[in-house]
C-alpha cells in the first residue's frame, strides 16, 4: 500500500536556509493532508494541514503547498533552525484514519 510516498528518506540543510520536504499521493479522493513532526522517543506532533480545495497554507515558518494535478504536496520551512531536526511525515486523511508516508529525516546543520 503506497498511497502516500515520501521519496527522500533524508535531507540536510544549513541553518537559516529553506528546507523543502516532498510528498506524493496516488488517491485523488483524499481531501485533507497534514504534516507531522516526530522526535525520537516521542509521538508524531501535528504541524500544519491543507484542504484539497486550497493550494497553499502558511503558519509562521511553515508553508504547505498542494498541487492536485500532480498529486504532490510539499512542506517549506524557512528559515530552518537546528530544533527543526526531526522526522517529518506527511499524511493523507481518509475516513476516520490517516495514511502516512514513510517519513523524511531532516537534519538542520548549525
Amino acid at each position: 500500500d503506497q498511497q502516500v510516498k515520501q521519496n527522500s528518506p533524508s535531507l540536510s540543510v544549513q541553518e537559516g536556509r529553506i528546507s523543502i520536504l516532498n510528498c506524493d499521493y496516488t488517491n485523488s479522493m483524499f481531501d485533507y493532508f497534514l504534516w507531522y513532526k516526530k522526535y525520537p522517543a516521542e509521538g508524531p506532533t501535528f504541524l500544519i494541514s491543507i484542504s484539497s480545495i486550497k493550494d497553499k497554507n502558511e503558519d509562521g515558518r511553515f508553508t504547505v503547498f498542494l498541487n492536485k494535478s500532480a498529486k504532490h504536496l510539499s512542506l517549506h520551512i524557512v528559515p530552518s533552525q537546528p530544533g527543526d531536526s526531526a522526522v517529518y511525515f506527511c499524511a493523507a486523511s481518509g475516513a476516520y484514519k490517516y495514511i502516512f508516508g514513510t517519513g523524511t529525516r531532516l537534519k538542520v546543520l548549525a
Binding site: D31, Y32, A41, E42, G43, Y96, K97, Y98, F100, G103
Partner: protein
C-alpha cells in the same frame, strides 16, 4: 497543554502471551485511534473508535486484536496471542472530531518487544 498519555513506555512479552497497551486520550476528545510503526517502516493505521464502536480498521487489525474503552478515561489495545512480528511502536491518538480537518493528537507510544 493536554496530551495523550500511554503506558507502559516499553513492554517486553513472550510470544503467545496476551498484552494490553493502555492509553489515556485527551479528556474532551471523542475519537480514538491506534497506529503502529515497525522499526524502520512507516506509521500504519490499525483502528479507529468512536461512540464505543470501531469506526474503521485495517487489514492488520485481525481477530488477535481488540480495543476497549473500559471507563471514561482509558482506551486499550489488546493483542491476544502475540507474534514476533507484533514487535513495534504502538501509538495511540485522539481527536475532538472525526473530520479530516481536525488533527489527531498522538501519545509518545509504547514500544512492544516480543521475545
Amino acid at each position: 497543554e493536554p496530551e495523550v498519555t500511554q503506558t507502559p513506555s516499553h513492554q517486553v512479552t513472550q510470544m503467545g502471551q496476551e498484552v494490553i497497551l493502555r492509553c489515556v486520550p485527551i479528556s474532551n476528545h471523542l475519537y480514538f485511534y491506534w497506529y503502529r510503526q515497525i522499526l524502520g517502516q512507516k506509521v500504519e493505521f490499525l483502528v479507529s473508535f468512536y461512540n464505543n464502536e470501531i469506526s474503521e480498521k485495517s487489514e492488520i487489525f485481525d481477530d488477535q486484536f481488540s480495543v476497549e474503552r473500559p471507563d471514561g478515561s482509558n482506551f486499550t489495545l489488546k493483542i491476544r496471542s502475540t507474534k514476533l512480528e507484533d514487535s513495534a511502536m504502538y501509538f495511540c491518538a485522539s481527536g475532538q472530531g472525526g473530520q479530516p480537518n481536525q488533527p489527531q493528537h498522538f501519545g509518545d507510544g509504547t514500544r512492544l518487544s516480543i521475545l
